[in-house]
Symmetry: C3
Protein backbone atom coordinates (compact mmCIF):
# COMPACT_ATOMS: atom_id res chain seq x y z
CA UNK A 1 0.00 0.00 0.00
CA UNK A 2 3.06 2.29 -0.11
CA UNK A 3 2.49 5.07 -2.65
CA UNK A 4 3.72 8.50 -3.67
CA UNK A 5 0.88 10.17 -1.77
CA UNK A 6 -0.25 8.01 1.12
CA UNK A 7 -3.88 6.94 1.41
CA UNK A 8 -5.77 8.33 4.37
CA UNK A 9 -8.14 6.82 6.91
CA UNK A 10 -10.31 8.86 9.31
CA UNK A 11 -12.07 7.29 12.25
CA UNK A 12 -14.54 8.83 14.67
CA UNK A 13 -14.25 7.18 18.06
CA UNK A 14 -17.57 8.07 19.65
CA UNK A 15 -17.70 5.02 21.89
CA UNK A 16 -15.85 4.90 25.19
CA UNK A 17 -16.05 1.10 25.33
CA UNK A 18 -12.85 -0.87 25.87
CA UNK A 19 -13.60 -3.41 23.13
CA UNK A 20 -14.56 -0.78 20.53
CA UNK A 21 -11.52 1.34 21.40
CA UNK A 22 -9.32 -1.74 20.87
CA UNK A 23 -10.98 -2.34 17.49
CA UNK A 24 -10.43 1.30 16.48
CA UNK A 25 -6.79 1.29 17.61
CA UNK A 26 -6.09 -2.06 15.92
CA UNK A 27 -7.43 -0.76 12.61
CA UNK A 28 -5.61 2.56 13.03
CA UNK A 29 -2.29 0.91 13.84
CA UNK A 30 -2.69 -1.58 11.00
CA UNK A 31 -3.35 1.21 8.51
CA UNK A 32 -0.48 3.36 9.84
CA UNK A 33 1.82 0.33 9.73
CA UNK A 34 0.95 -0.05 6.05
CA UNK A 35 1.96 3.53 5.32
CA UNK A 36 -1.47 5.14 5.52
CA UNK A 37 -2.07 8.51 7.20
CA UNK A 38 -4.55 7.98 10.00
CA UNK A 39 -6.66 10.47 11.97
CA UNK A 40 -8.83 9.58 14.94
CA UNK A 41 -11.48 12.07 16.00
CA UNK A 42 -12.33 11.42 19.66
CA UNK A 43 -15.80 12.61 20.57
CA UNK A 44 -18.25 12.19 23.43
CA UNK A 45 -17.54 8.95 25.38
CA UNK A 46 -14.42 8.44 23.25
CA UNK A 47 -12.88 11.47 24.97
CA UNK A 48 -12.34 9.27 28.03
CA UNK A 49 -9.39 7.63 26.27
CA UNK A 50 -7.57 10.94 26.11
CA UNK A 51 -8.09 11.97 29.74
CA UNK A 52 -5.07 12.23 32.00
CA UNK A 53 -6.51 13.21 35.35
CA UNK A 54 -9.59 14.67 36.96
CA UNK A 55 -9.31 18.31 37.89
CA UNK A 56 -11.59 20.55 39.94
CA UNK A 57 -14.63 21.85 38.15
CA UNK A 58 -17.28 24.25 39.32
CA UNK A 59 -20.41 23.00 37.63
CA UNK A 60 -22.21 20.19 39.45
CA UNK A 61 -23.52 18.53 36.25
CA UNK A 62 -20.09 18.63 34.64
CA UNK A 63 -18.68 16.89 37.71
CA UNK A 64 -21.39 14.29 37.54
CA UNK A 65 -20.80 13.47 33.87
CA UNK A 66 -17.03 13.65 34.23
CA UNK A 67 -17.28 11.41 37.28
CA UNK A 68 -19.13 8.80 35.22
CA UNK A 69 -16.55 8.90 32.43
CA UNK A 70 -13.53 6.69 32.89
CA UNK A 71 -9.97 8.03 32.58
CA UNK A 72 -7.53 6.54 30.09
CA UNK A 73 -7.28 3.34 28.10
CA UNK A 74 -6.99 1.07 31.14
CA UNK A 75 -10.18 2.13 32.90
CA UNK A 76 -12.88 1.83 30.26
CA UNK A 77 -15.67 -0.78 30.17
CA UNK A 78 -16.95 -3.31 27.64
CA UNK A 79 -19.87 -2.65 25.26
CA UNK A 80 -21.34 -5.98 26.39
CA UNK A 81 -20.95 -8.13 29.51
CA UNK A 82 -19.29 -5.35 31.42
CA UNK A 83 -20.51 -6.65 34.80
CA UNK A 84 -19.35 -3.57 36.73
CA UNK A 85 -15.83 -3.87 35.38
CA UNK A 86 -15.34 -7.62 35.77
CA UNK A 87 -15.73 -8.14 32.00
CA UNK A 88 -12.84 -5.80 31.05
CA UNK A 89 -10.70 -7.24 33.87
CA UNK A 90 -11.24 -10.78 32.59
CA UNK A 91 -10.61 -9.69 29.00
CA UNK A 92 -7.34 -8.00 29.98
CA UNK A 93 -6.32 -11.16 31.85
CA UNK A 94 -7.18 -13.26 28.80
CA UNK A 95 -5.16 -10.90 26.56
CA UNK A 96 -2.17 -11.27 28.90
CA UNK A 97 -2.48 -15.06 28.88
CA UNK A 98 -2.44 -15.01 25.07
CA UNK A 99 0.41 -12.48 24.99
CA UNK A 100 -1.85 -10.16 23.02
CA UNK A 101 -1.66 -6.40 22.89
CA UNK A 102 -3.45 -4.51 25.62
CA UNK A 103 -5.38 -1.29 25.02
CA UNK A 104 -2.44 0.56 26.58
CA UNK A 105 -0.01 -1.10 24.14
CA UNK A 106 -2.22 -0.21 21.19
CA UNK A 107 -2.59 3.36 22.40
CA UNK A 108 1.19 3.79 22.76
CA UNK A 109 1.75 2.24 19.34
CA UNK A 110 -0.72 4.70 17.82
CA UNK A 111 1.36 7.56 19.23
CA UNK A 112 4.62 5.98 18.03
CA UNK A 113 3.09 5.65 14.56
CA UNK A 114 2.27 9.37 14.63
CA UNK A 115 -1.46 8.87 14.27
CA UNK A 116 -3.22 12.22 14.40
CA UNK A 117 -5.55 12.58 17.37
CA UNK A 118 -8.32 15.16 17.26
CA UNK A 119 -10.23 15.86 20.47
CA UNK A 120 -13.73 17.18 19.76
CA UNK A 121 -13.86 20.71 21.15
CA UNK A 122 -17.63 20.72 21.63
CA UNK A 123 -17.44 17.50 23.70
CA UNK A 124 -14.66 18.96 25.88
CA UNK A 125 -16.66 22.11 26.44
CA UNK A 126 -19.85 20.20 27.19
CA UNK A 127 -18.18 17.84 29.62
CA UNK A 128 -16.09 20.61 31.18
CA UNK A 129 -12.79 18.89 30.39
CA UNK A 130 -9.88 21.30 30.03
CA UNK A 131 -7.08 20.81 27.45
CA UNK A 132 -4.58 20.35 30.30
CA UNK A 133 -6.56 17.33 31.49
CA UNK A 134 -5.73 15.48 28.25
CA UNK A 135 -2.68 13.32 27.66
CA UNK A 136 0.43 15.13 26.39
CA UNK A 137 1.00 14.27 22.72
CA UNK A 138 2.38 16.57 20.03
CA UNK A 139 -0.06 15.16 17.42
CA UNK A 140 -3.14 15.91 19.57
CA UNK A 141 -5.29 18.79 18.32
CA UNK A 142 -8.51 20.33 19.56
CA UNK A 143 -10.99 20.90 16.76
CA UNK A 144 -14.60 20.62 15.70
CA UNK A 145 -16.62 18.31 13.45
CA UNK A 146 -15.45 20.32 10.41
CA UNK A 147 -11.89 19.08 10.96
CA UNK A 148 -13.14 15.50 10.86
CA UNK A 149 -15.25 16.11 7.76
CA UNK A 150 -12.29 17.72 5.94
CA UNK A 151 -10.11 14.76 6.84
CA UNK A 152 -12.83 12.27 5.86
CA UNK A 153 -13.25 13.93 2.45
CA UNK A 154 -9.55 13.34 1.78
CA UNK A 155 -9.73 9.75 3.04
CA UNK A 156 -10.36 6.48 1.27
CA UNK A 157 -11.83 5.03 4.48
CA UNK A 158 -13.98 6.91 7.01
CA UNK A 159 -15.78 5.04 9.76
CA UNK A 160 -17.84 5.79 12.86
CA UNK A 161 -16.98 3.55 15.82
Amino acid sequence: MVQSKPEQMSLILFSGDFDKAMAALTLANGAAGNGMQVSIFFTFWGISLLRRKNSGSDLFLEKLFKGMMPIGAEKIGLSKFNFCGIGPWLLKKLIRQKNGQTAQDLFKMAMERKIRFIACEASLKLLGIKPEELIPYERLELAGADAFLQSALESKIAMFI
Copy 2:
Protein backbone atom coordinates in the same frame (compact mmCIF):
# COMPACT_ATOMS: atom_id res chain seq x y z
CA MET B 1 -15.47 22.66 0.19
CA VAL B 2 -17.78 24.53 -2.24
CA GLN B 3 -17.44 22.96 -5.68
CA SER B 4 -19.17 22.73 -9.04
CA LYS B 5 -20.75 19.41 -8.09
CA PRO B 6 -21.16 19.17 -4.31
CA GLU B 7 -19.64 16.26 -2.44
CA GLN B 8 -22.11 13.89 -0.82
CA MET B 9 -22.32 12.22 2.58
CA SER B 10 -24.69 9.37 3.45
CA LEU B 11 -25.33 8.28 7.00
CA ILE B 12 -27.33 5.34 8.31
CA LEU B 13 -28.84 6.17 11.67
CA PHE B 14 -29.58 2.73 13.06
CA SER B 15 -29.26 3.77 16.69
CA GLY B 16 -32.09 5.42 18.56
CA ASP B 17 -29.77 6.74 21.27
CA PHE B 18 -29.87 10.43 22.09
CA ASP B 19 -26.09 10.83 22.10
CA LYS B 20 -25.57 8.98 18.80
CA ALA B 21 -28.41 10.90 17.17
CA MET B 22 -26.74 14.15 18.27
CA ALA B 23 -23.44 12.97 16.79
CA ALA B 24 -25.13 12.05 13.50
CA LEU B 25 -27.03 15.36 13.31
CA THR B 26 -23.91 17.38 14.21
CA LEU B 27 -21.92 15.72 11.40
CA ALA B 28 -24.84 16.07 8.97
CA ASN B 29 -25.36 19.76 9.76
CA GLY B 30 -21.63 20.46 9.58
CA ALA B 31 -21.38 18.81 6.17
CA ALA B 32 -24.52 20.54 4.85
CA GLY B 33 -23.21 23.85 6.21
CA ASN B 34 -20.06 23.31 4.15
CA GLY B 35 -22.06 22.85 0.98
CA MET B 36 -22.21 19.06 0.95
CA GLN B 37 -25.35 17.12 0.00
CA VAL B 38 -26.34 14.96 2.95
CA SER B 39 -28.70 12.01 3.21
CA ILE B 40 -29.66 10.28 6.44
CA PHE B 41 -31.22 6.83 6.23
CA PHE B 42 -33.19 6.21 9.41
CA THR B 43 -33.59 2.53 10.15
CA PHE B 44 -34.70 0.37 13.07
CA TRP B 45 -34.29 2.24 16.39
CA GLY B 46 -33.33 5.36 14.45
CA ILE B 47 -36.93 5.53 13.18
CA SER B 48 -37.92 6.82 16.61
CA LEU B 49 -36.48 10.24 15.73
CA LEU B 50 -38.95 10.59 12.88
CA ARG B 51 -42.07 9.59 14.85
CA ARG B 52 -44.73 12.19 15.41
CA LYS B 53 -47.34 10.40 17.42
CA ASN B 54 -48.54 6.95 18.36
CA SER B 55 -51.60 5.76 16.50
CA GLY B 56 -53.83 2.74 17.02
CA SER B 57 -52.46 -0.52 15.73
CA ASP B 58 -54.04 -3.93 15.69
CA LEU B 59 -51.12 -6.28 16.19
CA PHE B 60 -50.13 -6.87 19.81
CA LEU B 61 -46.41 -7.36 19.07
CA GLU B 62 -46.28 -4.21 16.98
CA LYS B 63 -47.84 -2.32 19.87
CA LEU B 64 -45.31 -3.76 22.25
CA PHE B 65 -42.30 -2.80 20.12
CA LYS B 66 -43.77 0.57 19.24
CA GLY B 67 -44.51 1.16 22.90
CA MET B 68 -40.85 0.54 23.75
CA MET B 69 -39.64 2.95 21.06
CA PRO B 70 -39.47 6.60 22.06
CA ILE B 71 -41.12 9.33 19.97
CA GLY B 72 -39.10 12.25 18.60
CA ALA B 73 -35.73 13.81 19.30
CA GLU B 74 -36.61 14.90 22.84
CA LYS B 75 -37.62 11.51 24.20
CA ILE B 76 -34.73 9.21 23.32
CA GLY B 77 -32.23 7.71 25.77
CA LEU B 78 -28.44 7.59 26.05
CA SER B 79 -26.28 4.72 24.78
CA LYS B 80 -24.57 4.68 28.20
CA PHE B 81 -25.60 5.81 31.68
CA ASN B 82 -29.23 6.18 30.66
CA PHE B 83 -30.47 5.48 34.23
CA CYS B 84 -34.14 5.25 33.17
CA GLY B 85 -34.02 8.64 31.47
CA ILE B 86 -32.09 10.57 34.15
CA GLY B 87 -28.93 10.53 31.98
CA PRO B 88 -30.56 12.26 28.98
CA TRP B 89 -32.32 14.72 31.29
CA LEU B 90 -29.02 15.67 32.94
CA LEU B 91 -27.29 15.91 29.57
CA LYS B 92 -30.01 18.22 28.22
CA LYS B 93 -29.69 20.37 31.37
CA LEU B 94 -25.91 20.49 30.87
CA ILE B 95 -26.35 21.46 27.20
CA ARG B 96 -28.70 24.28 28.24
CA GLN B 97 -26.22 25.51 30.87
CA LYS B 98 -23.51 25.63 28.20
CA ASN B 99 -25.86 27.24 25.65
CA GLY B 100 -25.19 24.27 23.38
CA GLN B 101 -27.51 22.97 20.70
CA THR B 102 -30.15 20.51 21.81
CA ALA B 103 -31.17 17.48 19.75
CA GLN B 104 -34.33 19.38 18.80
CA ASP B 105 -32.22 22.36 17.57
CA LEU B 106 -30.00 20.06 15.53
CA PHE B 107 -33.01 18.27 14.07
CA LYS B 108 -34.64 21.55 13.02
CA MET B 109 -31.35 22.79 11.56
CA ALA B 110 -31.05 19.59 9.52
CA MET B 111 -34.47 20.32 8.01
CA GLU B 112 -33.58 23.97 7.36
CA ARG B 113 -30.41 22.80 5.60
CA LYS B 114 -32.54 20.57 3.36
CA ILE B 115 -30.90 17.35 4.47
CA ARG B 116 -32.56 14.41 2.78
CA PHE B 117 -34.26 12.03 5.21
CA ILE B 118 -34.97 8.46 4.14
CA ALA B 119 -37.17 6.34 6.41
CA CYS B 120 -36.45 2.64 5.98
CA GLU B 121 -39.64 1.08 4.59
CA ALA B 122 -38.88 -2.39 5.94
CA SER B 123 -38.43 -1.01 9.47
CA LEU B 124 -41.72 0.90 9.26
CA LYS B 125 -43.53 -2.21 8.07
CA LEU B 126 -41.93 -4.39 10.73
CA LEU B 127 -42.71 -1.99 13.56
CA GLY B 128 -46.18 -1.23 12.19
CA ILE B 129 -45.48 2.52 11.90
CA LYS B 130 -47.59 4.23 9.24
CA PRO B 131 -46.23 7.06 7.05
CA GLU B 132 -48.74 9.47 8.64
CA GLU B 133 -47.13 8.82 12.02
CA LEU B 134 -43.88 10.40 10.82
CA ILE B 135 -43.00 14.09 11.04
CA PRO B 136 -44.12 16.26 8.10
CA TYR B 137 -41.08 17.23 5.98
CA GLU B 138 -40.97 17.67 2.21
CA ARG B 139 -37.50 16.05 2.03
CA LEU B 140 -38.62 12.87 3.83
CA GLU B 141 -38.88 9.78 1.61
CA LEU B 142 -39.81 6.19 2.31
CA ALA B 143 -37.40 3.76 0.67
CA GLY B 144 -35.40 0.57 1.11
CA ALA B 145 -31.76 -0.29 1.64
CA ASP B 146 -31.15 0.08 -2.12
CA ALA B 147 -31.81 3.82 -1.85
CA PHE B 148 -29.15 4.10 0.82
CA LEU B 149 -26.66 2.01 -1.17
CA GLN B 150 -27.22 4.12 -4.30
CA SER B 151 -26.66 7.28 -2.27
CA ALA B 152 -23.59 5.79 -0.54
CA LEU B 153 -22.05 4.85 -3.90
CA GLU B 154 -22.25 8.50 -4.96
CA SER B 155 -20.87 9.72 -1.62
CA LYS B 156 -17.36 10.51 -0.47
CA ILE B 157 -18.35 9.63 3.11
CA ALA B 158 -20.74 6.83 4.17
CA MET B 159 -21.04 5.86 7.81
CA PHE B 160 -23.17 3.59 10.00
CA ILE B 161 -24.16 5.16 13.30
Copy 3:
Protein backbone atom coordinates in the same frame (compact mmCIF):
# COMPACT_ATOMS: atom_id res chain seq x y z
CA MET C 1 -25.18 -0.50 -10.71
CA VAL C 2 -23.93 -3.27 -13.06
CA GLN C 3 -20.52 -2.28 -14.45
CA SER C 4 -17.46 -3.73 -16.15
CA LYS C 5 -15.63 -3.92 -12.83
CA PRO C 6 -18.07 -4.30 -9.96
CA GLU C 7 -18.06 -1.79 -7.11
CA GLN C 8 -17.03 -3.16 -3.73
CA MET C 9 -18.42 -2.79 -0.22
CA SER C 10 -16.56 -3.86 2.94
CA LEU C 11 -18.28 -4.13 6.29
CA ILE C 12 -16.81 -4.83 9.71
CA LEU C 13 -19.33 -6.64 11.86
CA PHE C 14 -17.96 -6.00 15.34
CA SER C 15 -21.33 -6.20 17.07
CA GLY C 16 -22.89 -9.51 18.00
CA ASP C 17 -26.35 -7.99 18.35
CA PHE C 18 -29.23 -9.56 16.46
CA ASP C 19 -30.59 -6.24 15.19
CA LYS C 20 -27.20 -4.93 14.01
CA ALA C 21 -26.37 -8.27 12.36
CA MET C 22 -29.69 -8.06 10.49
CA ALA C 23 -28.85 -4.52 9.37
CA ALA C 24 -25.40 -5.63 8.17
CA LEU C 25 -26.77 -8.65 6.32
CA THR C 26 -29.60 -6.63 4.73
CA LEU C 27 -27.11 -4.08 3.39
CA ALA C 28 -24.71 -6.80 2.28
CA ASN C 29 -27.43 -8.78 0.47
CA GLY C 30 -28.81 -5.62 -1.13
CA ALA C 31 -25.38 -4.65 -2.43
CA ALA C 32 -24.60 -8.17 -3.66
CA GLY C 33 -28.04 -8.34 -5.31
CA ASN C 34 -27.13 -5.17 -7.21
CA GLY C 35 -23.94 -6.73 -8.54
CA MET C 36 -21.53 -5.35 -5.96
CA GLN C 37 -18.71 -7.44 -4.48
CA VAL C 38 -19.22 -7.58 -0.73
CA SER C 39 -16.85 -8.58 2.07
CA ILE C 40 -17.86 -8.88 5.73
CA PHE C 41 -15.08 -8.91 8.31
CA PHE C 42 -16.44 -10.59 11.46
CA THR C 43 -14.57 -9.52 14.56
CA PHE C 44 -15.01 -9.74 18.32
CA TRP C 45 -18.70 -10.20 19.24
CA GLY C 46 -19.52 -10.50 15.54
CA ILE C 47 -17.66 -13.84 15.51
CA SER C 48 -20.67 -15.36 17.28
CA LEU C 49 -22.58 -15.37 14.00
CA LEU C 50 -20.01 -17.70 12.46
CA ARG C 51 -19.90 -20.22 15.31
CA ARG C 52 -21.14 -23.72 14.69
CA LYS C 53 -20.75 -25.45 18.03
CA ASN C 54 -18.95 -25.22 21.30
CA SER C 55 -15.95 -27.49 21.66
CA GLY C 56 -13.77 -28.35 24.61
CA SER C 57 -11.19 -25.76 25.55
CA ASP C 58 -8.57 -25.86 28.24
CA LEU C 59 -8.30 -22.27 29.39
CA PHE C 60 -10.84 -21.23 32.01
CA LEU C 61 -11.10 -17.60 30.82
CA GLU C 62 -11.57 -18.68 27.23
CA LYS C 63 -14.41 -20.93 28.36
CA LEU C 64 -15.99 -18.09 30.28
CA PHE C 65 -15.91 -15.66 27.35
CA LYS C 66 -16.94 -18.33 24.86
CA GLY C 67 -19.77 -19.35 27.18
CA MET C 68 -21.05 -15.77 27.20
CA MET C 69 -20.96 -15.53 23.40
CA PRO C 70 -24.00 -16.86 21.59
CA ILE C 71 -23.72 -19.40 18.77
CA GLY C 72 -25.12 -18.66 15.32
CA ALA C 73 -27.59 -16.22 13.85
CA GLU C 74 -30.60 -17.54 15.79
CA LYS C 75 -29.16 -17.15 19.27
CA ILE C 76 -27.93 -13.57 19.43
CA GLY C 77 -29.50 -10.74 21.46
CA LEU C 78 -30.73 -7.23 20.71
CA SER C 79 -28.63 -4.06 21.18
CA LYS C 80 -31.59 -2.58 23.11
CA PHE C 81 -34.50 -4.06 25.02
CA ASN C 82 -32.96 -7.51 25.05
CA PHE C 83 -34.74 -8.49 28.31
CA CYS C 84 -32.77 -11.73 28.73
CA GLY C 85 -33.68 -12.91 25.25
CA ILE C 86 -37.38 -11.99 25.27
CA GLY C 87 -36.72 -9.02 22.95
CA PRO C 88 -35.15 -11.10 20.16
CA TRP C 89 -37.86 -13.77 20.59
CA LEU C 90 -40.59 -11.15 20.19
CA LEU C 91 -38.80 -9.57 17.22
CA LYS C 92 -38.48 -12.94 15.48
CA LYS C 93 -42.19 -13.59 16.13
CA LEU C 94 -43.01 -10.16 14.71
CA ILE C 95 -40.85 -10.84 11.64
CA ARG C 96 -42.68 -14.15 11.08
CA GLN C 97 -46.07 -12.43 11.40
CA LYS C 98 -45.01 -9.92 8.75
CA ASN C 99 -43.48 -12.63 6.56
CA GLY C 100 -40.17 -10.79 6.80
CA GLN C 101 -36.74 -12.33 6.44
CA THR C 102 -35.22 -13.82 9.57
CA ALA C 103 -31.53 -13.48 10.46
CA GLN C 104 -31.12 -17.10 9.35
CA ASP C 105 -32.70 -16.32 5.95
CA LEU C 106 -30.43 -13.30 5.49
CA PHE C 107 -27.38 -15.31 6.50
CA LYS C 108 -28.20 -18.09 4.00
CA MET C 109 -28.87 -15.52 1.28
CA ALA C 110 -25.48 -13.91 1.95
CA MET C 111 -23.84 -17.31 1.34
CA GLU C 112 -25.91 -17.92 -1.80
CA ARG C 113 -24.84 -14.51 -3.07
CA LYS C 114 -21.19 -15.49 -2.55
CA ILE C 115 -20.47 -12.74 -0.06
CA ARG C 116 -16.93 -13.06 1.21
CA PHE C 117 -16.72 -13.75 4.94
CA ILE C 118 -13.50 -12.96 6.81
CA ALA C 119 -13.19 -14.21 10.38
CA CYS C 120 -10.77 -12.07 12.38
CA GLU C 121 -7.86 -14.32 13.33
CA ALA C 122 -6.89 -12.29 16.40
CA SER C 123 -10.44 -12.53 17.78
CA LEU C 124 -10.52 -16.30 17.23
CA LYS C 125 -7.18 -16.70 18.99
CA LEU C 126 -8.21 -14.44 21.86
CA LEU C 127 -11.54 -16.18 22.40
CA GLY C 128 -10.03 -19.64 21.87
CA ILE C 129 -12.35 -20.48 18.98
CA LYS C 130 -10.90 -23.01 16.55
CA PRO C 131 -11.45 -22.83 12.78
CA GLU C 132 -13.38 -26.12 12.93
CA GLU C 133 -15.90 -24.49 15.26
CA LEU C 134 -16.96 -22.09 12.49
CA ILE C 135 -19.67 -22.75 9.91
CA PRO C 136 -18.55 -24.55 6.75
CA TYR C 137 -18.51 -22.10 3.81
CA GLU C 138 -16.07 -22.06 0.90
CA ARG C 139 -15.97 -18.23 0.91
CA LEU C 140 -14.96 -18.05 4.61
CA GLU C 141 -11.35 -16.99 5.23
CA LEU C 142 -9.34 -16.44 8.38
CA ALA C 143 -7.34 -13.22 8.24
CA GLY C 144 -6.26 -10.13 10.13
CA ALA C 145 -7.17 -6.46 10.10
CA ASP C 146 -4.85 -5.94 7.11
CA ALA C 147 -7.18 -8.04 4.95
CA PHE C 148 -10.08 -5.79 5.89
CA LEU C 149 -8.05 -2.62 5.24
CA GLN C 150 -6.95 -3.89 1.82
CA SER C 151 -10.54 -4.68 0.94
CA ALA C 152 -11.77 -1.33 2.31
CA LEU C 153 -9.20 0.57 0.22
CA GLU C 154 -10.64 -1.05 -2.92
CA SER C 155 -14.22 -0.36 -1.82
CA LYS C 156 -16.57 2.53 -2.50
CA ILE C 157 -18.33 1.86 0.82
CA ALA C 158 -16.66 0.74 4.07
CA MET C 159 -18.60 0.76 7.32
CA PHE C 160 -18.15 -0.35 10.91
CA ILE C 161 -21.24 -1.98 12.40
